[in-house]
């Protein structure tokens, strides 16, 4: 039944992303102990809001450090009031650990870690309110945080979810659509080269539909990368005007 409702509602808007709003560097920090770059980042997409913080350390623990590149450490956690049902543990449960691992995998593909041997880059993402597409919003927020921190990357990493409902591919699923039982695919893309950093799909899907679904997600990601680029350039303009005077 929910499939029918969704189909009627989204026939026309199947390729549109929900309204997104990004802002860089919205908090200021002062640290006097470790020389490190900290850049908080806020991402608000319609009803999901997540601050992401990215921190880079010049050194990290002996056991974890790598001699030729930086270690990327991600922590994904959700606020206890972020979901409709109150969540008891903000992080440490299986889903959060799995998400942290996925984020780490995504960013190891994008960040030029060879430039920082024996260092550690920490990315902390906290979900304040969840309405589907958690992973994609995290990736987008973390991308902007890394850009704000000045960490060199190969390309923006844009992520989006896509689903298939009654033969219509939908981009950017909300919570009701994700839990409605249809397929949902999460894709993280490096737009310029078209390389996929992470691809994840749950539920069954006929192989003929897979291409259409990936195509829908990739188009959405490319659109998103233009928005991210615009925001970064705008922020840069504002900052350069302020620092010039």
């Amino acid at each position: 039944m929910i499939q029918n409702c969704l189909k009627q509602r989204f026939e026309h808007t199947s390729q549109l992303l929900r309204f997104c709003h990004f802002q860089l560097g919205f908090k200021s920090f002062s640290f006097s102990v470790l020389p490190m770059t900290v850049c908080p980042q806020l991402l608000q997409t319609d009803t999901i809001e997540k601050p992401a913080v990215c921190v880079i350390y010049p050194y990290c623990s002996r056991s974890k450090s790598l001699h030729d590149r930086a270690v990327i450490n991600c922590q994904y956690s959700m606020a206890t009031f972020s979901t409709a049902e109150r969540k008891r543990r903000p992080h440490g449960d299986r889903k959060s650990s799995e998400m942290s691992l996925h984020l780490k995998q995504t960013f190891e593909a994008a960040v030029l870690t060879e430039l920082y041997p024996r260092s550690q880059i920490d990315i902390y993402v906290k979900i304040l309110q969840a309405d589907g597409g958690n992973y994609s919003a995290c990736v987008n927020a973390a991308t902007l945080a890394l850009v704000d921190a000045g960490i060199p990357m190969r390309d923006y990493v844009c992520a989006c979810t896509a689903g298939f409902v009654e033969d219509t591919p939908l981009a950017d699923l909300c919570h009701a659509e994700e839990s409605g039982g249809g397929t949902s695919l999460a894709l993280a893309l490096l737009p310029r080269s078209g390389n996929i950093a992470l691809l994840q799909m749950d539920a069954r899907l006929h192989q003929d539909h897979l291409d259409a679904l990936i195509e829908a997600a990739m188009t959405a990601c490319k659109g998103l990368s233009k928005v991210l680029d615009g925001v970064v350039r705008q922020h840069l303009e504002e900052v350069s005007v302020l620092t010039r005077d």
Binding site: Q23, F26, K27, L42, A52, A79, T80, P90, Y124, K126
Partner: protein
């Protein structure tokens, strides 16, 4: 807590300044930093508030659920507190690093707020002995720059003011089994009376004087601090001494008096602001986390 290291020269500088009633940012000893409060920021909750006090950012969400009342007081509901120190605030809080601080904060908040003098817990009762409303108050620390207790208490008061609990109808069928129905209308809800909810004032002793709303740097220069929770009438509901140093009885008396004065003065503007925000209704521009 996220600690800042200060040199001896800086400590002396801060102490001399405080002695002359002039702090690092030009405030007087009993002045608060610039405070911004906004309610109803998270739509998944029954009530929420965000406060930024200088560089300290706290987000509080209140969720109401139906549960069983405690055996000792069957006709009252209760509040449960959980403080989450997120890694966004400082990397020391990653994983389980923030748990200790979180537990300390939750326990103190429980003592201060979860009693019948602060809140009318009877109004949270649905069926005496069987069902009651349990308010889960979740505090999220987004940024830490000293004076967490004050910011959290003000945010809790604002969030409780903003909380809307749906009204319930109890129907009993033939066998005597009670059924609880929540009303479907989202506007048919019960509000909480937050008049008696106290606000916490933390006073830190630096040298021979005390300061209100200490930043991390000033905290590093102080030996001990006193936490006082004050209601709008000036009644002191809870006093706690924190920190490693010792305080002499006269200082404690002085600090309590100052705390009462400052705390009493906090309530009136806070309630005015909350009521003004509420009266704007739908026309209010939500700033949320941007700006």
């Amino acid at each position: 807590m996220a600690a800042v290291q200060v040199s001896e020269a800086e400590k002396v500088y801060v102490m001399h300044g405080v002695r002359d009633d002039l702090r690092l940012d030009g405030r007087g000893c009993e002045d608060y930093r610039h405070m911004e409060i906004e309610t109803d920021v998270v739509s998944n909750t029954d009530g929420s508030a965000k406060i930024s006090l200088g560089h300290t950012d706290v987000l509080v969400g209140v969720k109401a659920e139906i549960g069983k009342p405690k055996a000792m007081v069957p006709d009252e509901g209760y509040l449960e507190f959980f403080v989450d120190c997120s890694a966004n605030a400082t990397p020391e809080f990653e994983g389980r690093g923030g748990e200790e601080l979180g537990v300390e904060l939750s326990n103190t908040l429980c003592k201060v707020f979860n009693n019948r003098h602060s809140m009318d817990l009877r109004s949270l009762c649905i069926c005496p002995g069987e069902n009651c409303w349990v308010l889960y108050v979740d505090v999220l620390l987004l940024q830490c720059d000293g004076n967490l207790f004050d910011a959290i208490s003000i945010a809790i008061k604002a969030a409780l003011f903003n909380t809307r609990i749906p009204k319930v109808h109890i129907s009993e069928d033939e066998e005597g089994v009670k059924e609880i129905e929540l009303s479907d209308d989202p506007y048919d809800c019960m509000r909480l009376n937050v008049k008696n909810v106290p606000c916490i004032v933390t006073l830190c002793k630096i040298g021979h004087r005390h300061v209100v709303d200490a930043t991390l740097q000033e905290k590093a220069c102080s030996v001990a601090s006193l936490l006082i929770s004050v209601t709008h009438r000036g009644t002191v509901t809870c006093v706690r001494k924190m920190g490693g140093g010792s305080l002499d009885p006269e200082s404690i008396f002085e600090m309590t008096e100052a705390g009462k004065r400052v705390g009493k003065a906090l309530h009136v503007p806070l309630m005015e602001l909350l009521q003004k925000e509420e009266s704007l209704g739908k026309k209010r521009q939500k700033v949320g986390f941007l700006g």
